[in-house]
Symmetry: D2
Subunit: 439 residues, 4 copies
């Protein structure tokens, strides 16, 4: 008789789900999943059906004995789960559009994980995540929460500070994307590359790059100063850093660093794109519709290649890799969002950081790096402060804190603009911010 | 017979000198100065004569037996000095004009202690200061270096890290200005107010305000949310922070915080002023000329009231207060730039911070504050990183480091703009940057 | 009309009280006390009467208008007090005798503030102190708790960790005793000496000695290597450290350090004294009887000189000095037990340390020292661990923790001896350890 | 053609060498050694011949193509080495006998890695190790130094602080011994156990025990409270800790902790053994003679089973495991002595700690643990202080520092006894302490 092994995926109706399914199929040998519960809310029922049926066909084709349940009942889904993954989006793409459009009106970056968009996505998401953790305490106290939901750093911080569960890991595909980019840059297989990552979610740095164990950081950095070399991670078109900057920085940045180190250019680019082709949410919205049309085809029984264009490459794959390592106590090194525990000196022990960690059955164990390079310590600290204040605002419903959080964000031009944006976005997202309105 | 007590003032020809003289006269009972050496460079000889003669008249009028020496020979002046004060300006106001004008061309704040201006003033000043410390080692190894020269935080950092002298204090009139502003706000005498200051030079926060020893911080913060209340420190016209921001921040800011928390407004303001009335250096240049005209009048034997408009109120007075407390081992509390020594947790022990310290004969002893509030920790860390990289660039003459320092500064819109500004300013200040050009 | 200024002294029947009274009389100009409540328990009623009447005669003689109340009702005494001082002894000298005698049976130091005696005095005292803090929350929430009761470090740690009041200072006469000793050693007036103290209660080090503000530490250390020089603080007869040890240590020790750095000698000395003249409690017991005989004399209206032999010189005086500085926001430097707040790097921020602090109306503000010298950092950390575990045992009534606390104490020869001593002392002090017995 | 892979073993004539050889044979597939240089000094020539010939026979029997060189020329041996292992003993067993016998005369523990013996072994060994590192800089700058030589913690500290090489790892068999002990206790295969180790060499704690990845620490701790359970690591006969102590401590100790937590018993035991059967060095001396008799037998071509009684089980095996993981960038977790780098909060970043680390080609990367439990933090800090002062004394030849180091060691009864022991041992080891005598 097989031992039950249950995963519950909150936001199961997401267009990403086929990638997750593919991940489970690929790693079935190591992770013998018996039950997969895809949970969604009433409003997402139709999508859940479509993607859920595709999931069933994929598993059937793979010839695996995994029970797939589609459910609107979160409690039932969580019951005795071994792993809970979250990939939901409070307010759906409609909310994301607002996160992207409204700030642009104030000449401020509109992005769903940084600046005003990140703040408001956090304010909407954190109460829901904390609700889930309360359910988990009751229904599956030993389960691991694997959080994909953005802003993943802020959400992990909130779970660490304001929930009673300790088994939480935040996950992002940015580090694996950087590894892939470096592999390509050096024209070697991905498996030969290891990078010491440290920082925060969407603000992670590659401190050292190893090729077959040899430190080749300087060589990689030098290659990045080549003007023909553009940003090497998909989804964010390369803009190219100044060679002096790259050389003196001496570590790898992530694509989201563009918002900070190329603030002015990114703002112009966003404004142009918003005018010409729509914001990212608007583009994705269209892509998603097409994807769901594809998914409906009941002869389709694999992950359709078009999904890759949706972004989020490696995301779900990374998730299953993480889950597998926890399940098997693999002790391999993966970059995850976890409790700092002293690994980065200038960040509090009890804050979330994104850092290369040994993945054990007892969770990720971050590898101590001493401290971040002087040049990046300040920005990281600043975003951590932003995350902490945002999480506190999300939990308390204190609008002053929301204004403060946004005012200290480096993408914000002033406290008064912060105030105006908060006011407009608070109103726009009213339905998903009960903590601020129903006091 | 009187015991010799000698002060050497580097940059003695400064228009501020009469205030310093007034300070020495006022505190003569406690600080029985016997020799004051005003030193300047050849190019400043004329001003030195003018201001030096005024100094002599002021002292004569006060009936004090203080020998005033005007000298172009720094070594002679430093010999056996007990205190060395620095108030020189490498490149004079001409250089400052460039620090203010050039960045504005790139839509970047032009200011002599922050952003590009701060960086280049540091690059010009630090080698000279380190040269002075080398002279001091030889000529007056027991003397205290009291540094007024801006950017005072960066300069103090550089002396702590790159010189062999330990007796250095950086000084700024901003904290005393805040105290004065709070006294006025509460309509009480200055002596009844004490503020716990912590942060960096031109980035200092008032963490707690005490009136007759009672903590009245909340009350003061509340008063600051009053829209009729404007910035309460002279020289920087009030713009008024958003009440939510003030309340949630919960601590006092300094005027220079406007550059960060009101970045967009300050840039517009600077651009407008530069167009309409000239930059600050240009205004000051005119003021200085008028002042020196006044100083020439050999019937003048007091500090002329017009000096106050020059800015720098309390500056020299603060300096003499500090010197007097060191000399007399007074153990009173003053806010100064000194070695952190663990007083602020998230700043390295060996970095300079601006912090309320007990002033003893053995120097300032910072009072431990634990850590800065979460909301301000990041910005402070970021400016500290900027200061450290700038100081390192000043010492090594490494242009990559200069580009990096400017790129990570929160006032800079991108690494490429940083690069362009560095290139233009490097060329503009070429004569005062031998470490970059004569390698 | 005079403003009410009320002090409540818990354990008012102590033989020390006349010194406290003398302190209040001396500093009446600065601290215009209007009401002094001497509180004690039923068992101490007689002593309270005797010492209370002496107190009244002393105040009368001084011609001051201070109302002295003798009371067995702690609540009434605490009501609206401005300062609460504690000098009680749970179990009286009888308990102290056990603290001193029982360990000696196991060839272990018997002393009321260190080792087994310190542990058990803590276990008896902490619940009572926490009870008082709960009363204070209700009855005088703005009052300062000035704790003399030993073990003062452990008690302060317990109040900081386990009570809701923040206004607590622990006080000891050891630092002032060291200052007096150094003054004598240098043959100068006490007022000319300042010492940077840092460490823990009864484990405090003098890191730097200043004479008229000049650092004379090396000179003082050199003098201490003189074999003719013995320990310079009263009550603990000098044994003389090895000159190499003194020189390499480079800082001043306190008399209680003998228990650690001269462990074997101190144990032999204690055993000899216990046999020949009785333990300290037994000697003091006799002294106290004589003192109370003196106190009964109703012509006596000053502090009798014989009190000085009782030990505790400067104790109450130090207390009134501290109270006066808080009351007047004096901002002078005094060594006290207070929240570390980052002042000593290797001790947690929220732990109690004994450290030179600026005394303000808002309480003591410790001066940052960076970290303790390498040579003393370990012992201090070890005693802090002992204090923390002991306090936790006192609060939880967990005997395992008491065994652990004693086992890790450097005066304990083994865990099994710790166990035996805990068992015997637990039984001996049963009546005063309800948390362990009435579970 | 095979790639050269060269190991140099300083102290190659050690009786342990056959175990090292066995290790290289076992792991030849992963670590294709081509040259093994066994180096020793003139005085050890005979032993080197004997053990070296056995080594050659062992390798011949294994049918491997490894060139074994016996050499008295350290420089030649180090030239282009890939790994350097050290297992020498300055002064041979004669010196160890003194380390064990002399302290006992003062009723002080005589042991070669703790207390006076540890100090003097450090004073003799550190200059030699630093000499080796200087040779390495010149002759094999890319090689890793794998140090077995005791006191391994102090030696690693000294290399980190006083040499120019960074590639150093200290190694001890204690952690692996604990793992073996726990496996036996739980009656499971060693491979199923993982323990989070943290602390210092010979003062390491097992913070968490995992069986198949599940945290079973509480269960293991509970088993250890069983009075029938004795110390589970070979070589140190079990004495049995008090159950309360074990339970409240909550982590695993190492055998050497007996010297601290059972100080009195261990001293008595040592004194009894010294009288009855000789000190450990004296016993080992006899064992070694027998071993070398065995080794001489030129029909012997395997590691003789009698070697296991010599102690040091797993030692060389652990070394080859470590070397193999570095060579292959294995990224498995092993407990080693390495730079702390923030992994343990209360120990400086640049100090050596013994801690579970990921072993990469770039060296060990310690896993962050936050901080040690309160109960053990103090003792660890104290031994770290002892190690640092001892290392400084070894480098400077400052006898005051040696006295201080020994005085603060918890095994020392007083500074004056420390002084006497230092004087006697300094004289006894004179020939191996040139830094103290030839100044
Ligand atoms: Mn992401
Ligand atoms: Mn200033
Ligand atoms: Mn005391
Ligand atoms: Mn070992």
């Amino acid at each position: 008789m097989t031992k039950k092994l249950k995963v519950a995926t909150i936001g199961g109706g997401s267009s990403y789900t086929p990638e997750l399914i593919e991940g489970f199929i690929k790693r079935y040998d190591e992770f013998p999943l018996t039950e997969l519960w895809l949970v969604d809310i009433e409003a997402g029922k139709e999508k859940l059906e479509i993607v859920g049926n595709l999931a069933k066909r994929m598993i059937k084709k793979a010839g695996l004995d995994i029970r797939v349940e589609l459910s609107l009942d979160r409690e039932e889904a969580l019951k005795e789960a071994d792993f809970v993954t979250t990939q939901f989006r409070v307010g759906l793409l409609e909310a994301r559009k607002k996160d992207e459009r409204i700030p642009l009106k104030y000449d401020v970056i509109g992005q769903e994980t940084n600046g005003p968009g990140g703040l408001f996505k956090g304010l909407r998401t954190i109460p829901v995540i904390l609700d889930i953790t309360r359910d988990m305490e009751r229904l599956c106290p030993d389960a691991w929460l694997i959080n994909f939901t953005n802003p993943a750093g802020m959400v992990t911080e909130a779970v660490l500070r304001y929930s009673n569960i300790e088994k939480v890991v935040g996950l992002c595909n940015v580090p694996i994307g950087i590894e892939m980019g470096v592999s390509k840059l050096l024209d070697v297989d991905h498996s030969r590359i290891r990078i010491d990552f440290a920082g925060l979610n969407h603000m992670v740095y590659g401190l050292n790059v190893f090729l077959d164990g040899e430190n080749v950081t300087e060589h990689v950095v030098e290659k990045l100063t080549d003007p023909k070399q553009t940003s090497f991670v998909k989804n964010i078109e390369g803009i190219g850093y100044d060679p002096s900057f790259i050389r003196a920085l001496g570590v790898l940045t992530c694509p989201y660093h563009n918002y900070y180190y190329k603030h002015r250019d990114m703002l112009e680019k966003q404004q142009k794109e918003a005018d010409e082709q729509g914001t990212r949410a608007e583009v994705v919205s269209k892509l998603e519709k097409e994807l769901f049309e594809l998914y409906k085809d009941d002869t389709l029984d694999i992950k359709p290649p078009q999904l890759e264009e949706r972004g989020g490459a490696y995301y779900s794959d990374a998730a299953v890799r993480l889950i597998t390592s926890i399940y098997n106590d693999k002790r391999d090194i993966q970059p995850v969002n976890t409790r700092n525990n002293g690994a980065i000196a200038s960040i509090p022990d009890d804050s979330a950081v994104e850092i290369s960690s040994v993945i054990t059955k007892d969770g990720p164990k971050p590898i101590a790096i001493g401290d971040l390079p002087v040049a990046v310590r300040g920005l990281v600290q600043q975003i951590k402060s932003f995350e902490r204040l945002s999480a506190e605002a999300a939990v308390t419903g204190d609008v002053d804190l929301a204004v403060l959080a946004l005012s200290i964000n480096p993408l914000t031009p002033s406290d008064t603009v912060a105030r105006e944006i908060v006011d407009e976005m608070m109103e726009a997202h009213k339905d998903h911010l009960p903590q601020f309105f129903n006091k």
